[in-house]
C-alpha cells in the first residue's frame, strides 16, 4: 500500500508511539528548562557577584555548545566514562538544560523590566532579598516573558527531533519515521507525517501560550 493515506494507515501504530515519546520527551525537558531556567535567572540577578558569575557560566556553557554535541557528550561520553546514564536521562537533560540557558536569559531581561521599585517595596515590607525575587520579581518576570518563552518552547519541540536520531536509542517521532523509511523507502510520505506530528505539537504550544499570555497579562 502506498500514497500518503496508505502510509499513515499502515504505520499508524509506530508513528503514534513515536509521537507519544516525543510528547513525553518535550514535557520532561520543558519542566527541567523552566525550573533550571528560573534558578539560573535568580543567580544572574542576585546581589552576589559570585552567584551572578555561576549563572553566567551556566548560560554561556549551554548556549554555546551545539545541542547535538551535548547529546553526544551526555550519552556516549558519559557512558564511556562509566556513568550509567540512560537515553531518557541524557535526552531530556540535554534538551532541558540547553533550553534552560535561553529561558534564564529571557527571565533575566524580564526581571530587569520589573524595576527596582518593586524590590524596594518588598524589602520594606520585611521580605528577604531572596523572597523578594521569588515572590515579586520572578512571577512578574515570568508573566512579561510568556511570549518569549512560547517561542523557546516551540524551538525546543523542533530541537527535540535530533534527540532520537542522534546516538540515543530513544524511539521518538522522527526516529520511528526513520525506521519506517529505511524499511519501505516511502521517504516523502513518512517524513510528511512526521512533519505533521511536529506541527500539531508546535501549534498546540502556540495556542497554549497565547492563552497563558492573555490570562496572565500584567497591566501597569
Amino acid at each position: 500500500m502506498s500514497g500518503l493515506w496508505g502510509v499513515l494507515q499502515e504505520h499508524f501504530p509506530e508513528l503514534l508511539a513515536g509521537f507519544l515519546v516525543t510528547i513525553r520527551l518535550v514535557a520532561i525537558a520543558f519542566v527541567i528548562a523552566m525550573v533550571v531556567g528560573a534558578v539560573v535567572a535568580a543567580l544572574r540577578i542576585s546581589p552576589s557577584k559570585w552567584l551572578q558569575r555561576i549563572g553566567g557560566v551556566y548560560v554561556e556553557t549551554f548556549r554555546n555548545i551545539p545541542l547535538l554535541v551535548l547529546l553526544f557528550i551526555s550519552f556516549a561520553g558519559l557512558r564511556r566514562a562509566g556513568v550509567p546514564i540512560t537515553p531518557w536521562i541524557a535526552g531530556t537533560a540535554s534538551l532541558g538544560l540547553y533550553t534552560a540557558a535561553y529561558v534564564a536569559e529571557a527571565l533575566r531581561s524580564g526581571a530587569f523590566a520589573v524595576g527596582k521599585g518593586q524590590i524596594d517595596a518588598a524589602l520594606s515590607l520585611g521580605f528577604s532579598y531572596a523572597s523578594a525575587l521569588r515572590r515579586i520579581v520572578i512571577p512578574q518576570a515570568f508573566r512579561s516573558v510568556i511570549p518569549t518563552i512560547g517561542s523557546l518552547v516551540i524551538a525546543m519541540i523542533r530541537n527535540s527531533a535530533i534527540v532520537g536520531v542522534s546516538l540515543l536509542a530513544l524511539p521518538d517521532l522522527l526516529k520511528e519515521a526513520r525506521i519506517i523509511q529505511s524499511r519501505t523507502f516511502e521517504t516523502g510520505e513518512v517524513f510528511f507525517w512526521a512533519a505533521i506530528g511536529y506541527l500539531v505539537l508546535t501549534l498546540t504550544a502556540t495556542v497554549a501560550f497565547r492563552l497563558l499570555e492573555r490570562r496572565f497579562e500584567v497591566r501597569r
Partner: protein, 252 residues
Amino acid sequence: MEESKGPNGPLVELSGVTKSFGDNVVLNEIDLRIGRGEAVVVAGPSGSGKSTMLRCINGLEPIDSGSIRFGGRAIEGIGREIYGIRAQIGMVFQQFNLFPHMTVIDNITLAPVRVQGTSVEEARRRGRELLERVGIPDKEDDVPADLSGGQQQRVAIARALAVDPKLMLFDEPTSALDPEMIREVLDVMRDLARDGMTMIVVTHEMGFAREVCDRLIFIDEGVIVEDAPPEEFFKATGSARAKEFVDKIIHH
C-alpha cells in the same frame, strides 16, 4: 546615647550619618532624633539627601559612617536581622510600587501572611479594615492598574500599615499625583498622625506640614539647616536658604 535604650528614648536616632554616591556627599554628618508619636516633615531642594535619608533609616541604602538606631538598636551590620527591623517600618514611595500582578487585597495581605505568619482569613479581615480606613473599601478585588493614582497610593499606605509598623516613612507620597488626588492621600496621612503614628514625611506640601507635623526639618546639601516646629519655621527666623526655599514652594 544611654537614654536611647528603653521605651522612653527616641524611636529613631541618627548620629553622624554620612553617605556618598561616588564623590557626591549626599548626607553629611546628620544627627537627628525622632521620638515616639512624632510626625516630622522633611523638606529641601531636590538632590538634598531627603529621600536617601529615609532609605537609610530602614536599611535600603547602606551608610558610609555614623550610626542609625531604631528603638535603641543599631541597624547596621546586623545581617539578616535587618528584615525584622524593616517589617516594623512601613514605607510609602513616590511611585506607589504596588505589585501590579496582584489584586489590592493580595498586595495588602502578602507581607502579613508570608513574613509574619498571620492566617489568610485574619490578614484579609484586617486588610479590609485598612481599606476602609484609607477610604476605598470596595476595591479589594481590583488590580492596581484599575485604580487612580490617589487610590493606588492609599492602597500602598494600607499595605505598609498591614504589618503594624512602629514607624511610617513617606517618600514624596504626593509628588506623582494629579492635584485633585493629593488631598485624599494627605487626609489619610493626617488621620494617621492624629492617631499617634510616628512618621517621617518627605514632602513639599507645606500646608500639610503646617497643619499636621510636630517638627519641620529642612535639609540642604546633605546637612540639616533647620529643625523647628512648623509655626517657628514659617516665621522663618533661621537660615536664609530655608526661608527662600519655603517662600518658593508656598507661593508657586
